[in-house]
């Protein structure tokens, strides 16, 4: 126990680089993890910034980490990114006129199914 305390004391005096120190609460870690998986890496466009090794991905992860640590919520962080990079950077398409069909398609399909079932007499 003493050894551990000593280690912790020693380590807390070490200059830990800005990159990811454990300043986040568990809930914040979860939020951070959740967000970075939903942000697209613009350099290797087929990965999220969570997975990507690109410089920009690291920078953005860092930025999001800081923001979450400062208490921002998911909407605010995503908004921040959207303002600068546009909709493309978020894996969740925003709900706006051009994406109405996209988001409403499950309901539409459900309605179509019901209609068809009625037609062939299953109701």
């Amino acid at each position: 126990m003493k050894k551990i305390t000593l280690m912790i004391l020693l380590l807390s005096f070490q200059v830990v680089p800005d990159d990811l120190n454990s300043d986040l609460t568990t809930a914040q870690q979860e939020l951070y993890q959740g967000i970075i998986q939903e942000v697209r890496c613009l350099v290797c466009q087929n990965q999220s910034i969570a997975e990507s090794n690109a410089e920009l991905a690291k920078d953005l992860r860092e930025e999001i980490f800081q923001q979450v640590g400062q208490g921002r919520n998911e909407a605010q962080v995503k908004n921040y990114l959207q303002e600068r990079y546009g909709d493309f950077v978020l894996y969740e398409p925003s709900f706006k006129q051009s994406t109405y069909f996209l988001w409403l398609s499950p309901i539409l399909i459900l309605i179509l199914i019901l209609g068809w079932l009625r037609k062939i007499g299953l109701f």
């Binding site: 070490q14 680089p17 909709d87 978020l90 398409p93 051009s98 399909i109 062939i120």
Partner: protein, 626 residues
């Protein structure tokens, strides 16, 4: 290659020649040609393989995908490592399945013409693909002067699971051509539903390989890509999932067609769609139209060729369907009879496929129509897929209580007891054994339990003689339930932590403590690596040590992470190395994932079910209580 071309051409032609030759002669000829085609392509692949093993860099394809340092197994795998070679593989599998159809003993005498037509259609498919290969994607192209050293295989592909992933997946994709050909053949002949029994065999076959291929891909992504993810809704992943969903629907629809003679048009349509989705998948991967991890070649010219092929086969098939499909009687189905439930579930399966299609292609549409660029990714798909999946699972269970032509009222009664039991068990698991998460989690667990229990029912209730007959269905549905359980629990209860650790430091994630001991250097056959030693403790007992790595292969590729995984059936503990932050401090990626293995155990059991069905198949009309 040229012999294969000739053979395929003849195969197609033989089927067409309606007048001059008599039937048995045509049969013999077509079987011969199918075989020749297959053997020619096999020969071609062997040539390619031989060249690979000899480091023959005068062949451009080999120069691009191999080098002298590549371990031998991967030199073989490099045959299908890139576009041209993978097409050759595709062709081989296509001709192989053709041969299995040609020499199959499952055709009765009246159906001979069916066989001939379907083989000839397959011949046409082969023909077009061979032309495609010869004209645009020839793996045998030479490069002169011959380079001394090849570029090497993409390090991502230098992995056992990923090496066999393409052949297995392709076997599935390509296998769907058989039901496709059979369906079209049935449209061309007067026999209405005898094609169904035969088609079902090959559909299950393809379905097996697709299930295996997809599961393998997912598992590989998990342990290789360094992030612990197992499904990304990437366009090419979706392109493999869509045919799988439709193939599943097809199998069930064919059951009804074979047994009851109903749903003939649905089965036909589904068979056409399934193969078309395979072709679409090929198109998406190779045309560069969508950005994806898997993109082979971004070549509009090749994309165009494939698109033309799709136009020919899908368009042609659908036109044939529109013209020749017999007007069937209006469906008179009892509500909640087995037929209607199967139909309903197929509708849900197809809706899922449709939703995935919409999501995958939407960015494309928007870009063309509106000049907007959006991304549609996991947040969308994870949400949207629930809409068909939740009803699907409910009705899959209900279907177990149904009988052919049965009335609905008795069914509800019988099922309600099991439903209550499932809810009880599900609630116990989600609230007491685990801890409460979200309503969705509880729903998922209940549905998984429901699927598993109802899956066991036919087995429990059947007589000894029918036991084996019901086993496949039970296995498949239990597998489904297990997979759903794995997905639900891992997604809801998994914990991920990114943190910096110095040598000797540890971090607690959930109930487990991860301690970074040290990081050393290591050299492999064609890479240099940094290897970490990480010990994992639970309740102060050491339960394992893992050795995650960060590898740098030669020249062009970025670093690869090999994760350190300590796993058993109940949980995975996942460790990956991040960045070197100096002073022996590294950022580490730590994950606790409960019940993760179930996500692949499920498909494995599903595959067992399919295998049982294939090997113990009796025509459905014989058994009473299937």
């Amino acid at each position: 290659m040229i012999t294969a071309l000739a053979a395929a051409f003849l195969q197609f032609l033989i089927g067409l020649k309606l007048f001059t030759l008599d039937e048995s002669l045509r049969m013999i000829l077509i079987k011969r040609f199918t075989l020749i085609q297959c053997l020619s392509i096999f020969l071609a692949i062997c040539c390619l393989g031989y060249s690979f093993l000899n480091d023959d860099f005068s062949v451009l394809y080999i120069a691009l995908n191999s080098n002298t340092n590549l371990p031998i197994p991967y030199k073989i795998a490099a045959i299908w490592g890139a576009h041209e070679g993978s097409l050759l593989l595709w062709m081989f599998l296509l001709s192989f399945w053709g041969v299995t159809l040609a020499f199959s003993k499952k055709f009765t005498d009246q159906d001979k013409i069916l066989k001939i037509y379907s083989l000839s259609i397959l011949g046409l498919v082969s023909l077009s693909f061979i032309l495609f290969i010869i004209y645009t994607s020839n793996p045998f192209e030479r490069i002169l002067p011959m380079p001394d050293q090849g570029r090497g295989l993409n390090p991502l592909l230098q992995d056992p699971a990923l090496a066999i992933h393409p052949p297995i997946l392709y076997a599935g994709y390509v296998g769907l051509a058989i039901p496709f050909a059979l369906a079209l053949a049935s449209l061309l002949t007067p026999h209405s539903s005898s094609w169904a029994g035969i088609a079902r065999i090959w559909t299950i076959n393809s379905w097996l390989f697709l299930t295996g291929g997809i599961a393998l891909g997912s598992w590989w992504a998990y342990y290789e890509l360094g992030w612990g993810g197992w499904w990304f809704w990437d366009p090419v992943e979706n392109a493999s999932l869509m045919p799988w969903l439709v193939a599943t629907a097809l199998v069930h629809s064919l059951i009804v067609t074979e047994k009851k003679g109903l749903f003939n048009s649905f089965s036909t349509l589904l068979a056409i769609i399934a193969f078309s989705l395979s072709l679409l998948g090929t198109f998406l991967v190779r045309s560069g139209v969508l950005i994806s991890v898997h993109s082979f070649a971004s070549d509009p010219e090749r994309g165009l060729f494939i698109l033309m092929l799709i136009g020919l086969f899908t368009g042609g098939a659908l036109m044939l369907f529109a013209l020749k499909q017999n007007r069937s009687d209006p469906l008179k189905l009892e509500l909640l009879s087995r037929e209607s439930l199967l139909l309903l579930n197929n509708v849900f399966l197809c809706s899922a496929a449709g939703l995935i299609m919409i999501g995958t292609l939407y960015p494309l549409v928007l870009e063309l129509v509106n000049s907007e660029k959006i991304s549609v990714g996991p947040p969308y798909f994870n949400f949207v897929i629930l809409f068909p999946c939740i009803p699907l699972l409910i009705f899959v269970g209900l279907a177990m209580f149904s009988t052919w032509n049965g009335k609905g009222s008795k069914l509800l009664l019988r099922s309600s007891r099991v439903a209550l039991l499932s809810m009880l068990i599900g609630l116990v698991i989600s609230l007491l054994i685990l801890s409460y998460n979200t309503p969705l989690t509880t729903v998922g667990i209940i549905l998984a339990v429901w699927t598993i229990i109802t899956g066991c029912l036919p087995l429990i209730r059947s007589r000894a003689s029918d036991l084996v007959q019901n086993l496949p269905m039970t296995l498949a549905h239990i597998g489904l339930g297990i997979m759903v359980l794995g997905i639900t629990v891992t997604s809801s209860y998994g914990i991920t932590f990114d943190d910096t650790l110095g040598f000797g430091q540890s971090k607690t994630v959930g109930e487990y403590e991860f301690k970074l001991i040290t990081i050393n250097d290591r050299t492999g056959p064609n890479y240099r690596a940094k290897v970490a030693t990480v010990e994992i403790y639970s309740e102060n007992q050491k339960i394992g040590t893992v050795f995650p790595e960060k590898r740098v292969y030669d020249t062009t590729s970025p670093s690869m992470t090999e994760a350190g995984i300590e796993a058993n059936l109940f949980r995975d503990l996942f460790v990956a190395i991040g960045e070197d932050l100096g002073s022996d401090i590294w950022s580490m990626h730590l994950q606790y994932k409960p019940l993760l293995r179930l996500i692949w155990l499920g498909p494995f059991i599903m595959i067992l079910g399919g295998l049982v069905r294939l090997f113990l198949l009796k025509p459905l009309s014989e058994s009473v209580n299937s």
